[in-house]
């Protein structure tokens, strides 16, 4: 057995992920100063800090080691520490349940990773990355395909690819909010790191269907994630489902890149990977921010149920601004960061379709249009989230008693909120940096590729050039807005009256007349009823035949994956476990027979290994 090799591999890919980890973890740690205050005992707080530091350290280790075995150990450490963080609120029944689902799923994923790494070891006879990379050149294509699929399932479980996403909407909301922020913002990204490092960098893409498969899975992930997010009324679970969606968008970039590598199109391969990585860092920023804001709402109101909130923009003005920025960024509104990366991803599809031939052209076009659908649904989802939580009148006492959160929490949110602007405006620089990361990951020479016209304008080499300049766009929008505002102020001299919202001349309207989150998502529930299978029950409670006293209304959607995949699977596993129990009747003689048989089998099959 070789000795464990602890050298670190600090290439641009690893450094990029380390910076993403630190970029989100530090503000989250600052935020936790205020968030943990008054919630936990000092011993529990100390434990929380210890686990947080261990969590950040283990993630950093995952993306910086150069040895597959050490990688696996760091990976397990990360999973275990995050499990303890998910069950941090041990007094909640839900946390324990979420933790159990999480640990089972994450170990299922690890099992696939172990299998893949063992196959790699069989060819390389060492766990060192570079030795494996060399050995992979000689690996037969069939084996490569199997290894790829094992990695896809293994990392896909961590990333939350549908249908392996089930743990994510349980685990992420249940952890304390600064941990949710790191888990959704960063931890699931380590799976993307794994895919890039092990599949693109080490294994080497050798057939185009790998990319195609990832694209199809990513699209399903996007759509399922966003549709569930739109339906959800728990603020943090909504964000968790939205993470599933965004992982899909990131994977679109990565999958497209693999497709182009296999088709030998270096410019597009680099460009698509840039788009994916750009969305990765963007999603880390705005989802981290949104989880911190959701934590503030939870801390201030004591509930995460959207239907009980409302009107928080007046009680918590700063948190509202930060949440709005996060919501705008995730809805890809210009000039914030989500806009740039989504534009890049769409362009990657378009340019790729132009260069490829035949049916793949149409395939990429349809992929792009489904990505656009996802974008539209995400915008609707975040109009709902911001509008119902922060606008209009408070819907319950939880919301009407809310107060703005403490300074350290606001600092954490402010930092991430300003990053959504910075990463939107500094697009050309970031694309330049990401090009180096993508070059390191794919091994493609980028010295003769350019992605920007000057420091302000992105420019892509198509048949004819395409340009985008987010700073200029921001300037135009701000300039026009300012001018309109001034002109409008000069023109309108009449006074503004404050009155009630129009109530149809009936009686003064209150919170009960407001639109709810469930009502907002109703058109979508009907449009996607083939997938959501909504259940609806209405009942009139009558005093007499002529007078309806009250009206009961009940609606929910069927959790398809849980009901039709995981429930049967679980039943089957438990059933077969019961069968297996018959092997252990407690008789010592039988056990001796087992040992003998095992020995015999080993002797027979030993030479085969």
């Amino acid at each position: 057995m070789e000795s464990l090799n602890f050298t670190l591999l600090l290439d641009p890919l690893g450094l990029f992920f380390i910076s993403v980890i630190l970029l989100i973890s530090l503000p989250s740690a600052v935020y936790s100063l205020g968030y943990l205050k008054g919630e936990y005992s000092s011993a529990k707080k100390a434990l929380g800090w210890f686990l947080l530091v261990l969590f950040i350290a283990s993630m950093t280790l995952v993306v910086s080691v150069s040895n597959a075995l050490v990688f696996l150990i760091a990976w397990e450490l990360m999973s275990l520490v995050s499990y303890f963080l998910v069950v941090f609120d041990t007094e909640h029944e839900k946390s324990i349940q979420a933790g159990t689902i999480y640990i089972v799923m994450t170990h299922l994923g690890s099992a696939f990773l172990m299998a893949a790494l063992m196959i790699m070891y069989k060819y390389a006879h060492t766990f060192d990355f570079f030795a494996i990379k060399n050995a992979c050149l000689l690996m037969p294509a069939q084996v490569k395909n199997i290894v790829f699929l094992l990695f896809l399932i293994g990392f896909g479980t961590k990333a939350g690819i549908v249908p392996l996403h089930v743990w994510l909407p349980y685990a992420h909301p249940q952890a304390p909010s600064h941990i949710s922020s790191i888990m959704s913002g960063v931890m699931i990204k380590t799976a993307i790191y794994g895919l890039i490092r092990f599949v693109i960098f080490l294994l080497g893409v050798n057939s185009w269907w790998w990319g195609g498969l990832i694209l199809v899975l990513a699209l399903i992930t996007c759509l399922v994630g966003v549709i569930y997010a739109l339906m959800d009324r728990d603020l943090k679970r909504l964000l968790a489902y939205s993470s599933v969606e965004n992982i899909g968008i990131i994977l679109l970039g990565v999958g497209l890149s693999m497709l182009f590598i296999a088709k030998d199109m270096p410019y597009l391969a680099i460009f698509s990977l840039i788009a994916g990585l750009y969305h990765l860092v963007n999603h880390a920023i705005f989802k981290g921010l949104l989880f911190l804001c959701a934590g503030s709402v939870y801390k201030a109101c004591g509930t995460r149920d959207i239907e009980k909130l409302g009107g928080l923009i007046k009680k918590m003005p700063q948190t509202a601004v930060y949440f709005l920025l996060g919501a705008m960024a995730i809805s890809a509104l210009p000039p914030l960061n989500g806009f740039v990366s989504e534009w890049l991803t769409l362009q990657a599809f378009f340019l790729g379709a132009f260069k490829l031939t035949g049916g793949l052209k149409l395939f990429l076009g349809i992929c792009a249009s489904l990505l656009a659908l996802t974008g539209g649904l995400a915008a609707a989802c975040f109009v709902k989230a911001f509008g119902i939580v922060f606008l209009a009148l408070p819907r319950s006492n939880y919301a009407s008693q809310a107060k703005e959160v403490s300074l350290s929490m606001r600092i954490g949110m402010f930092f991430l909120a300003s990053l959504t602007v910075v990463f939107g405006l500094a697009a050309t620089f970031i694309v330049g940096w990401l090009a180096k990361v993508a070059a390191a990951a794919t091994g493609i020479d980028i010295s003769r590729m350019s992605f920007a016209l000057n420091n302000l304008t992105l420019s892509l080499k198509s048949v004819k050039n395409v340009y985008l300049s987010s700073p200029l766009l921001a300037l135009i929008l701000a300039g026009l807005g300012f001018t309109v505002f001034i002109v409008y102020r000069l023109l309108s001299k009449e006074k503004t009256l404050v009155d009630n919202t129009w109530d149809c001349g009936y009686y003064k309207i209150g919170p009960r007349n407001e639109y709810t989150s469930t009502a907002f998502s109703k058109p979508f529930r009907i449009a996607f009823s083939f997938f959501l299978l909504p259940y609806r029950k209405t009942q009139k409670i009558r005093e007499s035949f002529y007078h309806v006293k009250s009206f009961a209304y009940e609606t929910y959607t069927t959790p398809v994956f849980k009901k039709y995949i995981y429930k049967p699977l679980l039943t089957w596993v438990l059933g077969s476990a019961r069968l297996m129990r018959r092997l252990q009747p407690g008789s010592i003689h039988l056990y001796l027979t087992y040992i003998f048989l095992a020995l015999l089998l080993l002797i027979i099959f030993m030479p085969k290994f």
Partner: protein, 307 residues
Amino acid sequence: MIKISLIILQLLFFIGVAPLLSGLITKLKNNLRMRRGMSILQPYYNLIKLFAKGQVVSGTTSWIFKITPVVVISSALAAALLVPVFIFSTPLHFTGDFLALIFIFSLGRFFLALAALDTGSAFGGMGSSREMFISSLVEPALCLTVFSIFLQFGSTDISVFKSSTPISVSSIIGAIALFLVAIAETSRIPVDNQETHLELTMIHEAMVLEYSGGALALIELAAHIKQMIWFLLIAQIIFPVQAVDLSSPGGLFFWTGWQIARVLLIAGAVSLVEVSVAKMRLFRAIDFLGFVFVLGIIASICAILRV
């Protein structure tokens, strides 16, 4: 300097002419229904009247409600700067392309939907929910249409579309799809109805129900501008021009005349559609936009086959 004056000229053009187009469509619609109808200048009268009046703002609203008109109009104007009008290219064409234009439109829509929720009235919520619903279904259809156009021209830069190859089957189907998208986006029959204030049917009008005075004027002006942008885009795709020498007076005259004529043709088509079909139920819009999506696929296939 020429660039800046072109930018200002283009902004003034959109602000000045866009309401006329709406007035013209209303007039045409009325004439088609054998009515005399109001003057084509009516949108201007409306805007002037609204600007002169004070506002009534609901006490439940926040600053979101107040900044929304400004965001909506500035996003519409920013989008207007990306569309070629006087010359083949736009002064700011390197700022963004067709896709950026779609994203800029969604900025205005996002805020309008938030402002509608801000009032706390069920009408606002209804409008907001339906608007986001329709627009999210428009996105894929629109994206595929842009894709089919992209396949022909090799770029999503709007100013590239003019230097066109002779008109193709793909661009005709693409333009029809874009026309249907524009109907949905400018809240016209059969998807929405600008003329109604019946809560069961309205979408856009429900969102802006609480606005009054100058704020309402800004939102209406933005809607006129948005409509003008859509018509110009469709015109450019379905009625392309070969290179015209803009320095000669003849060329300039031809270009201006053709630009006006093709927009008028589209306005005529819109009014014909509006008088001849009934408004659909909200959920029929799924079928309608699904049809546009299929048109987009057909246009893309045609573009791939180069017909």
